[in-house]
Symmetry: D2
Subunit: 374 residues, 4 copies
């Protein structure tokens, strides 16, 4: 058996998401029969020390405090960006210019105009891209999409989506880049997941009416003073879909007690689905085809019947975890790089989400419905 | 022990709600120590036969096909209206003019202008009134309100409310009075419950942005043809509350699989509540006052600690049913008639709900935010 | 329409269960089209005062401190016994001797030998009897039994039953008649419900291995001292059923935090059921007949498809309460008195439960399996 | 930073558990800061081809069809046995004799006598051992144990444990080594997990009364005939614990619809815990210290407050998966090899479980309570 070709990865950023990507690479490599051998080539962080420590911790061969040196390195195939959002554009454009494939954490860029520039550059150069909307990688979401597409719910009429957490609920917390008016806010940060799931399941959203609210309007600046916050703590929208359905979503980062309320409900003429990321190895399905007196939402547990669950475990009900979602994300991207499949969620898709976010924000500001640009 | 004075009831209408009221009277009388003995005096229905049958079934002494005769009967104290919505106004105004107390099923009237006329008439005459928003009578909703009022959740920031069912989900169903443009629709019919609960818990809503959608635009007319439907199948709104909170509600009668999804979530600075009418003997409470590592939504089961549950059962966890909610509604109204308490949900409150509904409908039609008239 | 004949009731006892019976009579009369008009004739309690107060509260025409006077009263048709367990036998035998029908709260008698004497006397006299195992009256339990009988689960292989509460969990609580070695204990008090449900669903238990444990071996006597407790706080058993199934049950009154954990799970060759009285308007059903990848426990909500739910409410999902179970119990008994149906749970059935309890207790004491007497 | 020393692993077996171990090694290495670098040295399977394929898939440097050659290889530090149960003993003894550390999937050996020989050999030789009871590695189980140990539930009185699945529910399935009377059966195969959890949480079980039942007494032999099955499909036991508590467990592999019902409930004087592996990132906690009217089981979601969850994800509620449990198992074992900690679940612990299983089986056969050998 000939050795697989290497796919050499250069990672920028070593925080929550940098770590999650590394776990994703490691697991994907073990769980899937990938077309490449993933090689953790170089990791970049702010200082030489932090980069070296990350290299040791994560298993990268090299470390650098200069991410640009990775762009120039001909031995690196993929640039993986998990640096702060504001830096995504510069890094991605440089990588694309150098002909690298680019894997970028969400949001692709805080502004849709920037995201568009990035998506165009990638398309023009022909590199393969990926944006990290990992919740879509859940086998139960794939099942939901498949059931909807197969007509198991009949025609889809209604949708309710949510992504609520409480990591900004404490008004005593410190101002961070996420509070920056240039692109942060609950809608952009996590409402974007609710939007991604909505379109993943039902297809394009055509019009929105937004409602973005700042509930905590100043935060401590960490230096004894306070700093004004202009971004939304709650961002929600009414939705119209191209398929004729209507619905709503909400992004909320001050939902006290909620840690991962990425939920949806889909209502069709023949059935319904209900899902909560709080119990993400389950999908609840109601079918009017069941006999009268025997109908009810049935709790389908993730199993080898729901690919790629079976790659992780041959027995049903054992459950996959958050990091496994990232491994599935990696698999899809690597196959796209190999040309086996289309990009699962490339820069164009990432741009799409930014457009939705900005259209909702603009709608909220104008207090009017807005059509979503195609 | 002297005999209690009688409160003589004349009931108009013998359908779902007529029956529920009768059950409510019977149970209230047994469960509570009411200031009156409730006397089922006369029942009115469309024909002499149906009225007589209802009298026998329900235990009324007399029956009539002429509801006006009850208005004129000096031996009747309370007129209880469970007739079709379009008749509420005429019946109530007649009863009020005759000095009767009036208990009216929701909606008070399909149009707020009519509801206002009714509320004014009742106030002018000084009779006691009640509108049947029974879900508010749940001990767990009272608990929720009490917890919010006592500051157990801190300052309230956010609210999500729902009332979704599927009784209109079948597009093959027949046109009914509920599809009449004069006042029907999902928002008015059940979204009104979501609005009532929202204000019950958080106080006045000051502004709304509505979204009312007709998904099934014609229905069979029962005579081989079809009839156009103009009312909303889904009606939702963004909300602003006088207390500074923001939120949303939805009324939906085409939510396939949902039978009683009257749900809410309340998020405050110190805690949160989650409730579903699907399991209405429970209230879920999250408190940041719990120790780190030990926090979570706790499932509080209805018990004698939550009045008036203890009147129904001295042991916790045994659960009350839907008809018991109606008995609690009766209790509150009877005490108001006796002057013991204020009207729990009188015509003024019923009018308020109609105003909210119409403001949301008007906002939806105008595609603009609207202030809610005080 | 001719007036229905009266069924005149004499109630003994006015506590938790006395009250529940009165609620049951009132509701049954409204909800069902009973063959009789239920007349609350006389109530007996310990003193004239308490009896008079109960008569006023509950709506009985007469009151007495001498229950024997009710036995002698030819105007009373049914003697309803909710007095302390130790008195059941004397009262019931007297009532039977007088030709009265007898409705007796559970346990029929603390000792099976006494229960047998009562059952024989009732059979010999030909009066109709009823023992209050109200949980069996739940429409969802009837549904479960019907599904099992119809083979929807295939052949039944396994059963797990429970009835756990925590009303005796506080070791500082006072000694009461329930701690009396003559017949109390968790197994007898609530484990009996688990046994009743097991046989209701699967048919006769043929052999048991018991395990009855006293965890709190003395309790305060209310006079500054303590009193030894010999009864079980937890009583459980392995089971063999005549239909070939095996299983287990547990009765437990020191299960801290549990208020109504009357649960069961039934496993067959083709499906399974899971139920919890904590959410007793639901039954969870798994069917292997569902398509692969679409299987799961489905939450069936009580609806008019599940008689007699529809008598209480014409709409699904609205839910019945504990007192409604008692109303269903009353209905069944009244129909049996009228000769319309067999006794739903007469003294013979109550005796059966006592035999099961005693066989388990005897098995536990002997530390050996015991066959259950037929 | 000096390179970590290598820990060179030789894996025997490449099925469900072999794969899970490989995933565990990969993830543990990424997630934890282990004292060793784990090196996948050699994998052994039945044929050269299957071993070579596994080496390629799993990332082992070498492959062999002769597991004994790994024993003799001085470059291998740990022998990891995931071969069929009947081979565990021979392999482990050989590895121990060669001075290798041994990681063995459960059960340690089908017979306690064999397990004892293995445990003694390991102790005599001083090698470090581990048996794969991965469910114990769940942070929520560690939390439960910690809460119990800290007295948060008060004195523990009662326990209910389960491990039920349905992988043997189909009577048409083929006879396998798991049906071998020498050591298989539901109790040994998965009831053993319930026993491990019980002792993990409450400490030693001192006496048992067993009930082991064969429901499907013959299975197809795969050659057109049938083969008799003598092992239990359901094995349950009453329990007594050294700490004074009582309880029960059940192992069941014919529980139609159940995929991972590894559940427990613990009842103490001051609180209770409830857990289900079906939702294993949650622990439900009831505390009598909560205010009256505010008590309820609270759903604690796994978070960085519950080590080592935070190694996998810095944000709460994201959830770990089954393979992550295996990574935690690997971490514990590797630290034990490094001498940092005691063996988390070594051969002595594995032997203990076999003893419990055999004592329950013996009790069932004798139909008598049995003391558990210390």
């Amino acid at each position: 058996m000939p050795e697989k070709p290497a796919l050499r990865i250069g990672l920028i950023g070593t925080g929550f998401m940098g770590k999650a990507h590394v776990f994703g690479f490691a697991t994907a490599q073990k769980v899937f029969d990938l077309p490449y051998r993933l090689e953790l080539h170089t990791v970049a962080d702010v200082t030489d020390e932090s980069a070296a420590r990350a290299a040791a911790d994560f298993g990268f061969a090299k470390a650098t405090a200069d991410w640009r040196s990775m762009i120039d390195d001909p031995d690196i195939d993929v640039i993986d960006i998990t640096a702060p959002n504001a830096l995504h554009k510069e890094m991605a454009l440089a990588a694309i210019a150098a002909g690298k494939h680019v894997y970028c954490e969400k949001p692709l860029a805080p502004q849709a105009a920037d995201a568009e520039e990035m998506a165009r550059a990638a398309a023009a150069k022909g590199v393969k891209t990926q944006v990290g909307f990992n919740y879509l990688c859940n086998p139960m979401l794939r099942l939901a999409r498949e059931m909807i597409a197969a007509g198991e719910l009949g025609e889809i009429r209604g949708y309710r989506g949510l992504h609520a957490e409480d990591y900004m609920a404490d008004a005593g917390g410190t101002w961070s880049f996420r509070h920056d008016p240039a692109g942060g806010g609950a809608l952009a940060d996590i409402g974007s997941h609710a939007l991604a799931t909505a379109e993943f399941l039902l297809g394009p959203i055509t019009a929105v009416m937004g409602d973005c609210i700042t509930m905590i309007d100043s935060r401590r600046d960490g230096q004894g003073g306070t700093r004004s916050v202009k971004v939304d703590d709650v961002g929600r929208a009414f939705l119209r879909f191209a398929n004729g359905a209507q619905g709503s979503i909400e992004g909320n980062w001050i939902a006290t007690g909620r840690k991962m309320q990425h939920d949806f409900e889909v209502y069709g003429t023949k059935g319904a689905l209900a899902f909560s990321q709080e119990r993400f190895n389950e999908l609840h399905f109601y079918s009017v085809a069941d006999a009268p007196g025997r109908r009810g939402f049935r709790r389908i547990e993730a199993s080898p019947d729901h690919p790629p669950y079976g790659r992780f475990c041959v027995a049903p009900g054992h459950q996959i975890g958050f990091n496994d979602l990232k491994a599935i994300e990696v698999e899809g991207y690597v196959r796209a790089i190999a040309g086996e499949t289309a990009e699962p969620f490339g820069f164009a898709a990432g741009l799409r989400i930014q457009r939705l976010v900005e259209t909702i924000q603009a709608s909220s500001a104008a207090r009017q419905w807005k059509a979503v640009p195609a």
